[in-house]
């Protein structure tokens, strides 16, 4: 399986993401610079964390108009797995691939620590490796992860099981309904504030994030390799 890690000026979790795929998952991965326009040779697209364009104006607002984003939208339309982590999630929100927006954390602090998450929906191409309601430990590192959406959107997310991860125990940023990660209607675009790529080995304090990448791989193999 071939993964693309999109790199914007200011991305800083791209190397972690690359490492997670290449060394921990053992699959092919390439960096793709934001000026590129084609992702057709890739099977999955990863938008890493960081501070694209210095978080100027709003987090993800400028990256959202990069050349590569049209190709990301196309990959999403084609049903390829698209994962946005942290700033990558913010870019997906700004681009409208996922609903809602991010505000400053309630306590105005940059929060950088492991948090517990509940796997609310383990029936997505990203989460089949988890048990339903499993509690996992994955680190967060963000100043603007306070998820906001209107009531109609929240209802839509809840009724269609589109909230994939919720913060368990304390909510670190004030996000609505303890939302840590949501998926699109079609089920192939996941955005999450916690960093699964930073939890891929016990040496890092947790390997709970690796299951997410393994889930992507397993589901892709079932859909593509077995039938071809």
């Amino acid at each position: 399986m071939r993964f693309a890690v999109i790199v914007f000026p200011g991305s800083n979790c791209d190397i972690d993401m690359y490492h997670a795929i290449k060394d921990e998952l053992g699959e092919e991965v390439e960096y793709v610079w934001h000026t590129e326009t084609d992702l057709s040779k890739f099977d999955a697209v990863l938008l890493p964390g960081g501070f694209s364009y210095g978080d100027y104006l709003r987090c993800g607002a400028i990256a959202r108009f990069s050349n590569i984003m049209e190709a990301v939208s196309k990959a999403a339309e084609e049903g390829k797995p698209v994962l946005g982590v942290c700033n990558g999630f913010q870019v997906l929100l700004e681009s409208g691939l996922l609903p809602g927006a991010m505000k400053r954390n309630n306590n105005l602090k940059f929060m950088c620590r492991p948090v517990e998450l509940e796997v609310v929906n383990n029936n997505t191409m990203f989460t089949t490796g988890y048990e339903k309601s499993e509690i996992v430990t994955i680190p967060i590192a963000h100043g603007e992860g306070n998820y906001e959406c209107d009531d109609a959107t929240l209802k839509e997310l809840e009724e269609n099981n589109r909230i994939v991860f919720r913060y368990h125990g304390t909510n670190p940023n004030g996000s609505k309904a303890n939302i840590a990660g949501i998926i699109n209607e079609k089920g192939n675009v996941l955005g999450m504030m916690p960093h699964p790529e930073r939890a891929v080995d016990e040496l890092l304090g947790s390997a709970d994030g690796l299951k997410l990448f393994q889930s992507i791989l397993r589901n892709w193999r079932e859909a593509h390799v077995v039938t071809s």
Binding site: F65, A101, E148, D150
Partner: protein
């Protein structure tokens, strides 16, 4: 040319964590009369004299990039500046 002033603010329905912190700070400084603080952004744009339909262009830029319609509102003032 045109000078455009754009004000971007969080929607009324959206809680502003920065505004709350500033309000609390003002209260601790004994400005007890402050009942609310909302923090927004102010942008100044300069548009070329030949810009076709300035208002439409400004509105479009606000909708697409300068504000996030999910959580923010905006308003703008357009002023035509005649160079000497």
């Amino acid at each position: 040319m045109f000078k455009v002033k754009v004000y971007v603010t969080l929607k009324e329905s959206v809680l502003d964590p920065q505004g709350v912190a500033v309000k609390n700070s003002l209260h601790s400084m004994s400005y007890k009369d402050v009942t609310d603080v909302r923090i927004g952004k102010y942008l100044e744009l300069t548009l070329d004299q030949n810009t076709a339909d300035v208002e439409k262009t400004v509105k479009e830029m606000c909708d697409r990039l300068l504000s996030n319609p999910v959580i923010e509102d905006y308003r703008y003032e357009i002023e035509e500046v005649v160079s000497q």
